[in-house]
Subunit: 319 residues, 2 copies
């Protein structure tokens, strides 16, 4: 079975670990979000790709969900001692090595997809990890600065520095309209048996991937079941700031509204959390098969069960 998964960072990575356990024989291709990539200190940092790679490769800091286990922050301390900005992004020493290698390879002319493959040669994530594009795309967020004035910041600044404390007025994946899917992305979609949207952020993660021209169309035309898992439980994101960025695109932070946002043209099935069972009828009325099942990734077993539910719903949709 060939499974294609569109993934953001922590939520996508944890779901993938469950999927790998639920379908150990499956051939899994992950299309990773690169819209939250950022250049820091001359280095190219790809937080979502790395979170997937570290999580599946056994190098993740389990407690925080991002960054490396057994990490130190001496470079960060030193950069701050030199007075170099920004100081708000938590680049650890072990993590730094990944960015150094990536930057050096990009500088030598390798595309991000080739760099990602080279990095994965070490981590052996058990999936094929592709960036959504080799082109530069950066998700920017418009916020209100002072009364009546707007300011546009990098998504990482909005999320990590400002902690999404204010409303997002617009979310723009800058460069997406000029980007092309990375090599292998469209081929993976067109030969997939099932396509999954994990409980990743529908706007800045999966939304950024779908903003790369050709990807949304390829998924819609693949002719195979497309099943998603709601990142919204009980009217709020399980983690992250999906509610803030959903508001920016005019979508309510409910499991049903997110399904409608993807739409029946894209989604065949949608899983909502058991506590959102009353959303099932609404989603099905919109032409999307829906089931209410536990959607909290408390541990690997619970997550693998979520993946099995998604694959079961896909089989139902196929029938």
């Amino acid at each position: 079975m060939r499974i294609v998964v569109l993934a953001g960072g922590i939520g996508g990575a944890r779901f993938l670990r469950g999927l790998r356990a639920a379908a150990p024989e499956a051939d899994i291709t992950v299309i990773g979000n690169t819209g939250d990539d950022i250049h820091l200190f001359g280095l190219k940092v790809c937080p979502d790709l790395d979170t997937v790679m570290y999580t599946l490769g056994g190098g993740i800091n389990e407690e925080q969900g991002w960054g490396r286990a057994d990490e130190t922050f001496h470079i960060k301390e030193e950069l701050a001692a030199y007075g170099v900005e920004p100081t708000w992004f938590g680049l650890g020493d072990r993590d730094f090595a990944t960015h150094v290698i990536r930057t050096q390879m990009l500088g030598a002319g390798y595309p991000l997809s080739a760099v990602t493959e080279a990095l994965c040669a070490r981590w052996k994530p058990g999936v094929r990890l592709l960036p959504m594009t080799d082109d530069r795309v950066e998700t920017h967020v418009a916020i209100q600065a002072e009364e009546g004035t707007r300011k546009v910041v990098h998504f990482q600044e909005y999320w990590v520095k400002l902690r999404a404390a204010m409303a997002a007025e617009a979310v723009v994946p800058v460069g997406a309209d000029q980007s092309k899917p990375a090599p292998g992305v469209l081929e993976a979609i067109s030969t997939a048996d099932v396509i999954l949207f994990p409980p990743s952020n529908p706007v800045v993660s999966i939304g950024a991937i779908l903003a790369v021209p050709g990807i949304r169309e390829a998924i819609a035309e693949a002719g195979v079941p497309v099943v998603g898992l709601s990142p919204i439980v009980g009217g709020a994101p399980v983690r992250g700031m999906a509610d803030k960025v959903l508001a920016a695109v005019g979508v309510e932070a409910t499991a049903a509204a997110v399904a409608a946002h993807y739409g029946s043209g894209l989604l065949d099935g949608w899983l909502v959390h058991t506590s959102d069972a009353d959303a099932v009828a609404d989603v099905e009325a919109a032409g999307i098969r829906c089931r209410a099942v536990p959607l909290l990734m408390a541990d690997l077993d619970a997550t693998a069960q979520m993946a099995r539910e998604a694959l079961t719903l896909a089989e139902e949709a196929r029938a």
Copy 2:
């Protein structure tokens, strides 16, 4: 008093600490060797400049004489885990920050001299530290690879990786002939009251600095006392591989031979270690004032005393 010092790494840095203690009111300009600079993992590393900066700024690892105190090596471990070469250069995590900032500033168009000044704004070394040149110079060493074949390696490879285990057949500061002294270098020399050669390597450190066109000439024409301290004690270098690289340029590893190598056209005075007192007559016969004094930099007091002896000899030469 304006003092100009040509400095390599550990020996030069430690001497400078003594000089600063011996002449706290002096205006000291250090012309640092950049011939052993190396590009590693896309980063520009300047080992000698950093050793001077860290030693005078209080950040040095005192025991080993290079690198940062309280250092960790997590990036290095990770780069090795990724299988990235080279693995033989000891870049610590704290030290890494310096190279990241330097590389980013160079990439933004700042010359190395401006970058060095910016880095020193943090370390406040108490001297003005100038690279010998803003141009790229790399000291390469020719060694015998297999019987009858020669191989040329970067000086760092010869010294750090190969531990100078084999003879050096030639030492070439590649790019030196096309380089220009960094801004401020010739001005500092021409306005100096005294010029000192610390017990740094006469070939790969001070020799590389003198290989930048204009510097040797400016020193010879400055009309002020030029005094050096022998890095050779009892026929061997106090530390390092000066004997190996002296052999490559046809100079015996003795205190007298090194003085003759610089020559009376450049040197006015030369200090040899007390155990080399029998060299004094030879050196003086070559037209260079010479004294035998303790030249082991065992602690700050001993080093300050060496600096005072050098300044005293300079005053004698001036008279």
